[in-house]
């Protein structure tokens, strides 16, 4: 009985929206820049995904918390200031505790601020909803972004370096597909993923 009811709860629907129905990358095609750039290795994808998830959750929560006080005229600026603050927090945290990953991600950590998903969730959801739903929404969208990144990175790392998380998985004679380590490889794999997810969720862009 409870399982059937689950489908009608708000948090279930919010999670479903973020993870599949309105997946930010596959359906919304947001945050593509970083998705192409950092998916050449799985560890980079994990770090970037968690960083973005943290920024979405933290900034959405803060926007939601003060949503009644934000003057409409300066709301965009407010989102930017809040997002920028959390991005710097993530950057300092990575530099302090994961310097190698921070070096590998380079400028892309700072560029989380330009990731449309973060701003999009603040404006579309956090500014209108109470904190607990905002939390689910941020988490679902962040994880929706993360798992697509990790899946793309899994394919790319195996083909480009013959490894997963730096463990050799391909046989010795395997010739690395260099193109997979570069941006074009990201385009191919990501496009195929978007195709698969859209087929599975029956999401077609019909001509009007």
């Amino acid at each position: 009985m409870k399982l059937i009811r689950l489908k009608y709860t708000k948090w279930f629907n919010i999670s479903k929206n973020g993870l599949s129905q309105n997946n930010p990358i596959a359906i919304g095609v947001l945050g593509i820049c970083s998705a192409l750039a950092v998916t050449n290795r799985v560890e980079n994808a994990i770090a970037m995904g968690l960083g973005v998830t943290f920024v979405i959750v933290a900034s959405s929560l803060m926007v939601s918390m003060i949503r009644r006080f934000i003057p409409p005229r300066v709301r965009m600026v407010t989102y930017m200031v809040i997002i920028a603050t959390f991005v710097i927090v993530v950057q300092l945290f990575l530099e302090a505790f994961f310097p190698i990953i921070a070096a590998a991600l380079g400028a892309y950590v700072g560029l989380i601020i330009t990731n449309c998903i973060v701003m999009g969730r603040a404006e579309a959801f956090a500014a209108k909803n109470p904190m607990r739903f905002t939390f689910y929404d941020g988490l679902a969208n962040g994880l929706g972004y993360t798992y697509v990144l990790i899946l793309v990175a899994l394919v790319r790392e195996v083909l480009a370096f013959g490894t997963i998380l730096n463990y050799q998985v391909m046989p010795d004679g395997f010739v690395n597909w260099t193109v997979m380590a570069m941006a074009p490889g990201g385009f191919f794999v990501l496009a195929i993923f978007i195709w698969i997810i859209r087929e599975l969720t029956n999401n077609y862009e019909l001509q009007q």
Binding site: F69, I70, P71, R73, V77, I82, T85, I88, F97, P99
Partner: protein
Amino acid sequence: MKQYLQMIIFVLVLGLVTSLLLVGVDAWTEERIALNQQAELQSAVLDAYEIEYTIQQISDIFNENFDVVEAEDKTFFVHKETGSISFVIEGNGVWGPIVGVLTLEDDLVTIRRITILQEEETPGLGGVISERWYLDKYVGREMEPELIVSRNADLSNPNEVDAIAGGTRTSEAFEIIINAEYSAYIEVWNTLNGGE
């Protein structure tokens, strides 16, 4: 009027809260980031002598093998066993600073190894400056009378080295940096050891 006042107060409070948060995080991570940067520098020096280390004990291993000698405003890392030196070279590249570590053989002329710690050159072109295969071209080259980085390098002369293809301005900048820093450091080093 009242709404403008509210807006200004809101912006001020927002600025205050976010700044406090950042100051807090900075205070929390500052020490570790400084340690990481130090470890990066130390690993560059250790690599030049192929000394093995792990990130946890890098500081101890470094202190076991090297003396840090400071003279005027220059810092030298002296290998205890051979007496050869490493130091940090720093200067302006094309888009931003280039910072690296130069390790010399004990003749103080031959390059043992160069590592680039920081650069902001054009990725794929001048950015090659930080890649190991390119820096390996400098190994065994000599700094006297001066190092020449040229695209028509005559490798039979020990003081010439190939420039980066497509990175002419970075190569020129690096040539100036390495020669200027070398002569400045060697001068201090020679005065320091003049009495011996």
